[in-house]
């Protein structure tokens, strides 16, 4: 599957170019609208589909396994903090979902890493991630996996 752009809806704002983690959403040189320059490299992450303010991007399934007109479309309303999905199955059945984009005020809980202490080598080599265990709302010591228990053939 890969993304494609409805040219009548796209206004060339660049949000998809900005957000694409594969850097495959680019601006067409003839009509200055967005396009997927390398559909084979598309991860179907839906980042661009969700970011598009004009709902101009859709994802298509390959005709060999999605031949009967299914549809997965999304409407992201950032001012409301919601993301809605409409799933249309091949047999015409529809399902609608609404979820929060975030349950916390945006930006308030993002750690300001530049202002925190630099981790020492012990912390870097540790299996404990940043802000653990405090970030998991626990004071308990977290379990670790001994390196000897790792899969054979994988060396660290």
């Amino acid at each position: 599957m890969s993304t494609f752009v409805y040219m009548t809806r796209c206004d060339g704002c660049g949000h998809c170019v900005d957000i694409c983690p594969s850097d495959i959403m680019h601006i067409d040189e003839t009509i200055r609208r967005a396009k997927n320059i390398e559909p084979n490299f598309c991860w179907e992450c839906y980042s661009c589909v969700k970011a598009c303010p004009n709902h101009a991007i859709d994802v298509r399934g390959y005709a060999d396994f999605a031949p009967m007109g299914h549809s997965v479309r999304v409407r992201r309303e950032e001012e409301k903090g919601t993301i809605s999905w409409k799933i249309k199955f091949r047999n015409g059945k529809e399902k609608n979902f609404v979820s929060p984009i975030t349950t916390k005020p945006w930006g308030k809980f993002i750690p300001k890493l530049a202002e925190t202490d630099k981790p020492n080598q012990g912390e870097i080599k540790s299996q404990i991630l940043y802000n653990e265990p405090k970030g998991l709302n626990t004071k308990k010591e977290l379990p670790t996996v001994s390196k000897n228990a790792f899969k054979k053939g994988v060396y660290y």
Binding site: C13, H15, V17, E29, R73
Partner: protein, 266 residues
């Protein structure tokens, strides 16, 4: 300069019938270019087929009055204020360019068709609209060209990189700019000096590129975009919504809204 009709002054050297023929030729070129564009790209055929397909998933039938009301609202708000561009610099620049161009073209047509003979007296409002329209087009176009073009703003391309998509905006800016310079030089009474004649030729050439290059440029988006906006709003109203989910009825627990950042993280 701003209150004098440049075409009336020009009619002392070029007959007004020649100017009127040029104007009609430009209109014919736009019609021909758009038709060839439609036939070659099959975009209108695709558009109507898609709209027909979307209509099948409509949840309710729209009455004629409702359709007229939606279309009117779309023309006034969506098209008249280019609402799809959201709030911000892109929209202001587009509005400047759009209304500037409309004023410039209407004033050009009126002055050429009605007041282009050396004996006619042009009401001062038309030259004023013509010059104002040209200035607005140059301002909006240059703002877009140098700073707001998506390939410059979001893709970090240098402003001097010219691609085929620039044909329309560049031709538009140059037409208005050359028109203004020509009008200014002509108003100086340079006694047969070359300056104004050079800019008159540049003005004519840029017009030929703008209106003759419809097939190769983005000119026809002026016709397609309003059609797409009307189809989008009709689809929202009849419930088909191009398969999009309906707008969320957000419960309070979903938290605060998010302010979108400008796409400039290259």
């Amino acid at each position: 300069m701003i209150f004098s009709n440049p075409f009336s002054i020009l009619s002392e050297t070029i007959p007004s019938i020649a100017m009127q023929t040029f104007l009609i030729t430009m209109v014919v070129l736009v019609i021909l270019g758009t038709l060839v564009d439609i036939i070659h790209k099959k975009n209108v055929k695709y558009f109507f087929e898609n709209a027909k397909k979307a209509k099948k998933s409509a949840t309710r039938e729209l009455g004629t009055g409702e359709k007229v009301s939606i279309i009117t609202k779309t023309v006034v708000y969506d098209i008249g204020t280019t609402s799809e561009l959201g709030a911000g610099k892109r929209r202001i620049a587009h509005l400047l360019g759009m209304y500037g161009t409309i004023l410039f073209w209407i004033a050009s047509a009126v002055m050429i068709l009605c007041y282009s003979s050396s004996t006619s007296i042009t009401p001062s409002v038309w030259p004023l609209i013509w010059h104002l329209g040209a200035i607005m087009t140059v301002l909006g176009g240059c703002w877009f060209w140098f700073f707001l073009r998506v390939d410059v703003y979001s893709e970090a391309q240098p402003w001097y990189r010219i691609i085929k998509a620039d044909l329309f905006v560049l031709a538009l800016i140059l037409t208005s700019l050359f028109g203004l310079i020509w009008s200014y030089l002509q108003s100086l009474n340079l006694e047969d000096r070359w300056d104004d004649k050079v800019f008159l030729v540049l003005y004519i050439v840029s017009n030929l590129v703008l209106f003759g290059g419809v097939y190769w440029s983005k000119f026809a988006h002026m016709f397609y975009k309003p059609g797409a906006a009307i189809q989008k709003n009709l689809a929202e109203a009849d419930g088909s919504r191009d398969n999009l989910p309906p707008e969320a009825d957000a419960p309070e627990k979903f938290g605060l809204g998010i302010k979108r950042e400008a796409p400039k993280h290259y």
